[in-house]
């Protein structure tokens, strides 16, 4: 049993997390089983890929990253529908503000032209987020981990 699994089971035994949360954390330690959950079988045995419903961001950072004593854990689950609704907020930006925003973004190293971004392009981007998995491990001696995936 590895250290992470042991810690999760200890937290469950101490009542610090619920069984649902423990199950999600254990599943997060094993990316392949989580990806397999996207597939299902129809009544005739054909494999069907179900759509991801949530975007998960898991961050574990140690003292060297945060400057705070002890480990910091962030676990965020956001519905994909919220992301889709959020991109529509771009329609609230007045057209005359686009140029100022583009200049500000360019100054900060983000070469983006807001007026050329269309909602259907962002919808396609969010749809492809379902295939995104990001795993970042810190350098040797640094226990920082970042995982971003859809479930």
């Amino acid at each position: 049993m590895n250290v992470n699994r042991h810690q999760i089971l200890e937290m469950l035994a101490a009542g610090k997390i619920t069984t649902d949360e423990a199950e999600r954390l254990l599943a997060a330690l094993e990316p392949e089983p989580a990806a397999a959950e996207f597939t299902g079988r129809t009544s005739n045995g054909a494999t069907v890929k179900t759509r991801a419903r949530y975007l998960r961001v898991l961050v574990e950072a140690d003292e060297s990253m945060t400057g705070m004593k002890g480990q910091t854990t962030v676990n965020v689950r956001v519905p994909m529908q919220l992301l889709r609704a959020g991109v529509r907020l771009a329609s609230l930006i007045p057209a005359q503000a686009h140029q100022h925003l583009d200049e500000a973004l360019n100054r900060h190293g983000v070469p983006l032209t807001l007026s050329q971004i269309k909602p259907e392009n962002l919808e396609e981007l969010i749809d492809h987020l379902e295939d995104l998995t990001v795993d970042v491990d810190g350098k040797e001696g640094n226990a920082t981990k970042v995982r971003v995936f859809c479930e």
Binding site: R53, M68, T72, V74, V76, R77
Partner: protein, 86 residues
């Protein structure tokens, strides 16, 4: 589906709140009372910014309806915050 309940729990090294179940559906009562004022302000902004008002209202409503299912859990050495929106 609009958010109905928010479950909030805050813990620190010295104190801890019980798991609070906040009935967000009760916010509909003051929201309905303030709705005409809020809509008026949104419409004023849309006219001033030359933004499609219906699209703006649909975007805001879409965000509200997409909130259920959001979970945020932040844990540090001496504090823990959990928020779930159902």
């Amino acid at each position: 589906m609009t958010p109905n309940i928010a479950i909030v729990q805050v813990e620190s090294a010295h104190w801890r709140t019980p798991r609070l179940w906040l009935p967000l559906f009760l916010l509909w009562i003051p929201a309905l009372v303030l709705a005409p004022l809020v809509l008026f302000i949104v419409l004023l902004y849309c006219v001033a910014a030359r933004v499609n008002a219906w699209r703006a209202i649909a975007a805001l409503w879409g965000i509200v309806c997409a909130l259920p299912g959001t979970n945020v859990h932040v844990e540090t050495h001496d504090a823990r915050v959990r928020v779930r929106i159902l």
